[in-house]
């Protein structure tokens, strides 16, 4: 078996997907869609890990596991936050949320 297959195309695809995720974050104001875009970015990174794991060993896969775990945790907490905010403001539009300002 050829040791490294589709390395270049995979990395390119990963770059495209990541860029799409960034563009989504920048374009949308809906907090839920924002989270989806973040997930998209994380997936793009996972693809990079998997692609390079062909070269560098199974540590890449281990990293993917960690990323998935963190992503799951992040989605759970993030969505809970959105729920809480929605309850207060009846909106998930980021333009209305500026609690971070001191």
């Amino acid at each position: 078996m050829e040791p490294t297959r589709f390395l270049g195309p995979s990395l390119a695809l990963s770059a495209i997907l990541f860029t799409l995720g960034v563009a989504g974050v920048l374009l949308r104001r809906n907090a839920i869609i924002l989270f989806m875009c973040v997930e998209l970015m994380l997936n793009a990174v996972n693809l990079t890990f998997v692609a390079l794991a062909q070269v560098y060993g199974v540590e890449g896969w281990v990293m993917v596991f960690f990323v998935m775990t963190v992503a799951a945790a992040e989605a759970a907490v993030g969505l809970a936050i959105i729920l809480a905010i929605f309850r207060h403001r009846q909106s998930v539009d980021l333009a209305n949320i500026n609690l971070l300002q001191g």
Partner: protein
């Protein structure tokens, strides 16, 4: 005992001189006992009456024994009695040591002798006071410190006594501290003295710098070994600073202002501290370091000039005072001026001579005044009157009620006025003769002589005025009070009698050759003044000049007495309550030329204003705390506010910023 001393004590000196520490220890023990009594047994006046004077009399006995031994040995060098090492630092080694020599002997006799008499007098005078034990504690402490002052073998040890007597003076002036005026007077005395002390301290530092020692013996030896420094700037500076110290302690211009106020203390205190002993410390210091002063002719001239000026200036104020103690206070300032005129002239023995005779007759005058005040106070007390017991306008005719006091104060008046044959006559005459003699070299001394002579006239005048207003003429105390005026008890008159005898014959210790005397004191002090004499020797006048000077002094004195008597007895005096306020020039004299007010307006008030408004208000609260400290806090808060404006709280903005940063990092990494 490692906590106190780690080097072995020096071998004790022989005989009574080895017991010199008792001189200090006895009054100190009296202080401790009386102090303890004043706290725990304030009613035990009997014990206090015994302990207070007894320690002084015992001390006097020791002093006499020491002087007798000194008389027999007549050593050239002083005995140094080392008690312990006080300040051992590197090359500086200051021993707590006592120096016994001829000058110290004179001083300790005066202090313990006159001191004993005043202690005995106080037993009668203060008997009814609530703070009786406290009074004797302070008085004993004062004597202890005064003896440290005159016996200290080095400047710093002397300084312990120097400041210590100031402290006791402070405590005794403010003895009746619940009256604000008394407390003010005590504070003023201490602070004004401190101004002088700065001079003394700086003189010590400079001496240490050039001489490398602060022992009197060491300084004298050093000065004698460096004759080339005579007249040099450094010696002049040292002596000028030292003299600043003297003007504070001995109440000379410009620091004399505390002494008249110091009369707020009990009268025996005025006699002991503010007439006989403490205020003469400045004269003593000049004589003690006479070698330095004789090496600095400029300073000597300043000393003599200030002395003459003070003598004249204070005498003029004395002309128009009505408070009997105030008159005596200005008289003291004036007489101290004489002493400085003497030591400034180079007639050190004459200065000490006048110091001794002045101690006799001025103590007598003060105690006599105390006796008068005591009688007046009792009279007013008996009738519950609130008139001033010290105002001479309320007196008059007291000779009938108090003949002893009158007679003894009369002797003292004649002595201070320079009546021939009495103690003050010889000492004052010697000073004036010295000033006249030095005028041959430095003509300015003729001016000083003239001022001294004029002051003598005024002295005689105001003393005659005092006697006339107090004892002669009709009585003005009041009808009801007159019956209560009585002579003081014998415990008060006794010391007066002794002092009266001393005032009469005190001149005998230094009779001039003119009347067949041997100038005893002058020869006695020669070991002390000899180093100074190497640099400057005063040529005393002889023959016809001397006779002329004596004649002038006698004439002036008698003239003043007569004038004072006539001026006071012919004028109708009304009691203080009904007296009209002074007018014109006399008003300024009565208000002491407004010097206190001037100092207050020029120094005290501006200083307080600067401290309160400028330093505390503007610098401390405004600049440092307001602008710098709280300003920096405000600045950081402001920066924080600006930072918080950057934080919109919009996640989108953060994302954009984050991405821009990520782009930049990528740009660097990927390149």
């Amino acid at each position: 005992m490692t906590l106190f001393q780690e080097t072995a004590a020096a071998a004790p000196a022989p005989g009574a001189i080895g017991l010199a520490w008792l001189l200090l220890a006895l009054p100190m023990a009296g202080f401790v006992i009386n102090g303890a009594l004043s706290i725990w047994r304030p009613r035990a006046k009997g014990a206090v009456s015994v302990v207070g004077p007894a320690v002084l009399i015992a001390s006097f006995a020791v002093a006499v024994a020491i002087v007798l031994q000194l008389w027999q040995a007549s050593p050239e060098a002083p005995y140094i009695l080392r008690l312990w090492t006080w300040l051992p630092v590197d090359t500086l080694r200051i021993e707590f040591a006592l120096q016994i020599d001829q000058l110290a002997a004179v001083m300790m006799l005066v202090i313990t002798g006159v001191g004993s008499l005043i202690h005995i007098f106080s037993v009668g005078y203060m008997r009814t006071d609530d703070g009786y034990a406290r009074y004797f504690a302070y008085l004993n402490l004062f004597v202890a410190f005064m003896l440290v002052l005159v016996l200290g073998s080095s400047m710093p040890v002397m300084f312990i006594g120097w400041e210590g007597v100031g402290l006791c003076s402070y405590l005794l002036i403010g003895f009746w501290f619940n009256d604000k005026a008394n407390a003010d007077a005590g504070k003023k005395a201490f602070i004004v003295n401190r101004i002088g002390d700065v001079g003394f301290l700086v003189a010590m530092f400079a001496t240490w710098q050039v001489a490398g020692t602060l022992d009197f013996a060491g300084v004298t030896a050093w000065a004698s070994a460096h004759p080339e420094l005579a007249g040099s700037g450094v010696i002049t500076a040292i002596t000028l600073f030292m003299f600043l110290g003297c003007t504070g302690k001995s109440a000379q211009i410009p620091l004399y202002v505390w002494l008249p106020d110091a009369m707020a203390g009990p009268t025996p205190v005025s006699a002991l501290i503010h007439a006989a002993t403490m205020v003469t410390a400045g004269v003593y210091l000049v004589v003690r370091t006479s070698v330095l002063f004789s090496m600095a002719p400029l300073t000597s001239t300043v000393v003599a000039g200030i002395g003459a000026l003070t003598a004249l200036f204070a005498a003029t104020i004395g002309l128009r005072q009505y408070d009997i103690k105030k008159v005596l206070a200005y008289s003291t300032v004036s007489q101290l001026g004489y002493m400085f005129l003497g030591v400034g002239t180079g007639a050190y023995a004459a200065g000490v001579f006048h110091l001794v005779t002045h101690a006799f007759f001025k103590a007598l005058l003060f105690l006599g005044a105390g006796s008068v005040i005591h009688a007046m106070h009792h009279a007013y007390h008996a009738t519950h009157s609130h008139d001033d017991a010290q105002d001479m306008r309320n007196m008059g005719g007291l000779r009938r009620a108090m003949p002893w006091t009158f007679a003894l104060m009369g002797i003292a008046t004649l002595a201070i006025a320079g009546f021939p044959g009495l103690s003050g006559f010889f000492s004052k005459d010697e000073i004036l003769a010295g000033a006249f003699a030095r005028g041959g070299e430095q003509p300015i001394y003729y001016l000083f002589y003239g001022m001294g002579l004029l002051a003598a006239l005024l002295t005689a005048f105001y003393m005659a005025r005092l006697m006339t207003m107090t004892f002669l003429g009709p009585n003005r105390t009041g009808e009801a009070e007159r019956a209560h005026l009585h002579e003081a008890p014998w415990i008060m008159i006794g010391p007066l009698v002794v002092l009266g005898i001393l005032s009469l014959v005190g001149g005998a210790i230094n009779l001039p050759p003119l009347v067949g005397g041997g100038a005893g004191l002058e020869h006695w002090l020669e070991p002390v003044t000899a180093p100074a004499a190497r640099f400057f020797r005063l040529e005393e006048p002889h023959g016809s000049t001397e006779l002329f000077l004596v004649g002038a002094a006698v004439a002036i004195g008698l003239l003043g007495l007569a004038w004072g008597y006539l001026a006071s007895s012919r004028r109708a005096i009304v009691p203080a309550r009904e007296a009209a306020p002074e007018t014109g020039f006399w008003r300024a004299v009565y208000h002491k030329y407004y010097v206190d007010e001037l100092y207050d307006a020029v120094i005290v008030r501006p200083l307080l204003w600067i401290s309160r408004v400028l330093l505390w208000g503007v610098v401390d609260k405004g600049l440092v705390d307001g602008a710098a400290v709280n300003g920096s806090a405000r600045l950081s808060r402001g920066l924080g506010w600006i930072g918080s404006r950057l934080q919109t709280g919009q996640v989108g903005v953060y994302v954009v910023l984050f991405l821009v940063g990520a782009l930049w990092v990528l740009r660097v990494v990927v390149g």
